[in-house]
């Protein structure tokens, strides 16, 4: 991961910063330059809530090389309490016990590393609430 590329995603990955359209109220994660709902171009910064429910999931058993040390791992799409949808790994759980509709919270975790001396990338993962 080239440092500049990692750095410009920090507001989203570290702090869950999103943009709320000042005209129609649509919340966009990541923030954008133009609202796809109404075409407005002014946004206020909002922080995403850290709770939601799982809309769907899968357990990856054939992983890309930078994730083989985590395999098998679960991925999912969750809808947060404000309606925003996110893709992330589902972690700290029994991957065979996942269910659609399960409540999850968002936690800050290590996502991947570039070998032994490369950049360590952090970001958000889902954790089922009953853990």
């Amino acid at each position: 991961m080239f440092p500049a590329r990692a750095h410009r995603e920090y507001p989203q990955r570290y702090r869950l910063e999103a943009g709320k359209c000042k005209k129609c109220g649509k919340i966009l994660f990541p923030k954008r330059l133009i609202c796809p709902e109404c075409g407005h171009r002014e946004f206020e910064k909002v922080i995403l809530p850290d709770a939601g429910k799982l809309l769907t999931f899968s357990v990856i058993r054939v992983a890309p090389s930078q994730f083989t040390d985590q395999s098998p791992y679960a991925i999912g799409i969750a809808e947060l309490t404000n309606g925003v949808r996110l893709f992330a790994q589902v972690t700290d759980c029994d991957v065979d016990a996942l269910k659609v509709g399960m409540e999850v919270r968002i936690e800050f975790r290590r996502i991947q590393t570039d070998g032994h001396h490369g950049v360590i990338s952090y970001g958000y993962k889902f954790v089922p609430k009953w853990y």
Partner: protein
């Protein structure tokens, strides 16, 4: 706009073609199409290729392929829309002839996927998803379609057996296609017990990694008549996009770009789904075929799986799907797939599909649906034989 007809088709047997380079694969298919059409020159050629850069470290394919095809100084373009690059090449060639800009244009596609490791191919294919908000977190293509499968199975009670039935049907059709990479037949049990890749999708739910090319020749009705070719007209062309990230879509169990592209193609052709006799659809995974048939309106939402199980999409069914074997059995060299779909539609309309897979009731109108990424782009074409 002028009427445009397809007068020539060509492809090679697809597979892991270690003895052949991307240029050899491409030129073989292109020569076959030019020979089938009987044209003495081309005015232009369009090449669909997803990632020559990542698969073989080669871009600038327009120049390379025109050169090796012996087409000195020809106008040649490469277009890209991930796995829908072939469908896009067909659309661009169609527009070039329809507009009057050129009279004879080749639409083609190629992908050489086995010059990299499995991991290299996974990386290249994943560039069709959202790098920062899907792939960064560990998404793979089987994983993204698995998310659709989980959602579809939860909402509609689509079953494991229904997914397997798609693979069984397509491998049965592909067993009659001399160009198919995997012409073996399979069973519900074999698919349902194959190795898990991304739950609930197993290895036999997935289309393979393939080297291959395909090409078709488009021209005007006048030239087609002079050459004595059957008049197989492009009567509808629809193209739409959707959000690149799956999680940004309101509904995870339908493919909106497919629905919108089909509506555009139907409107242009002045037809409805009831007028279509058969279709080639983008079955990159078994669940994709089920969701696509629903999104095209062939079956109601949630009924696509049941229809496969009942045999409605088989060769003798009410709406045959993927008579070629689909991406599942024929193979999926991503840039070539959309063009090969057109080849099967043309063969069925000519009545020349090989080895007993020709539809018994001679079809008049066929459709091809080619999709990029997790459904972020779709092209739908409708062809009619005069």
């Amino acid at each position: 706009m002028r009427d445009v007809v397809v007068i020539g088709v060509g492809m090679n047997k697809w597979g892991e073609l270690w003895e052949k380079s991307i240029r050899d694969i491409y030129v073989e298919a292109a020569l076959a199409a030019i020979g089938d059409a009987g044209v003495d020159h081309l005015d232009s050629m369009i090449i669909g290729c997803m990632s020559g850069g990542l698969f073989v470290g080669q871009e600038h394919l327009g120049s390379l392929m025109a050169d090796y095809l012996g087409q000195k100084n020809l106008a040649a373009s490469r277009v890209e829309s991930a796995c829908a690059s072939g469908g896009l090449a067909f659309k661009m060639a169609y527009l070039e002839v329809a507009s009057g800009f050129s009279d004879i244009v080749m639409a083609s596609g190629v992908e050489k996927m086995t010059d990299v490791s499995g991991d290299g191919a996974t990386f290249a294919l994943a560039t069709a998803a959202d790098q920062e908000y899907e792939v960064f977190h560990g998404a793979t293509f089987p994983g993204l379609y698995a998310l659709m499968a989980t959602a579809h199975m939860h909402k509609h009670a689509t079953t494991r057996e229904m997914l397997s039935a798609v693979a069984v049907k397509n491998h049965n059709n592909g067993s009659m296609n001399p160009y198919a990479q995997y012409p073996f037949k399979t069973t519900i049990d074999e698919v349902s017990n194959s190795v898990m890749v991304a739950s609930p999708l197993r290895i036999l739910d997935c289309s393979p990694i393939t080297d291959g090319a395909a090409a078709v020749i488009l021209t005007t009705v006048d030239i087609a008549k002079k050459l004595g070719k059957p008049i197989i007209k492009i009567i509808g062309s629809g193209h739409a996009t959707d959000t690149i990230a799956l999680h940004s879509r309101a509904d995870l169990t339908t493919l909106k770009a497919t629905t919108v592209a089909a509506q555009k193609a139907f409107k242009m052709a002045n037809k409805t789904i009831k007028d279509i006799n058969f279709a080639e659809v983008h079955d990159c995974f078994t669940i994709a075929e089920i969701i696509v048939t629903e999104s095209l309106g062939i079956f109601p939402a949630g009924k696509g799986g049941e229809a496969v199980l009942k045999g409605e999409t088989g060769l003798e069914g009410s709406f045959p799907i993927n008579t070629s074997g689909g991406l599942k059995s024929k193979g999926h060299p991503v840039g070539a797939t959309g063009v090969a779909q057109i080849i099967e539609v043309v063969k069925q309309l000519r009545g020349t599909a090989e080895n007993g897979r020709q539809l018994k009731r001679q079809p008049k109108i066929g459709m091809a649906q080619n999709m990029g990424g997790s459904g972020g782009s779709t092209l739908v074409h409708i062809l009619e034989v005069a």
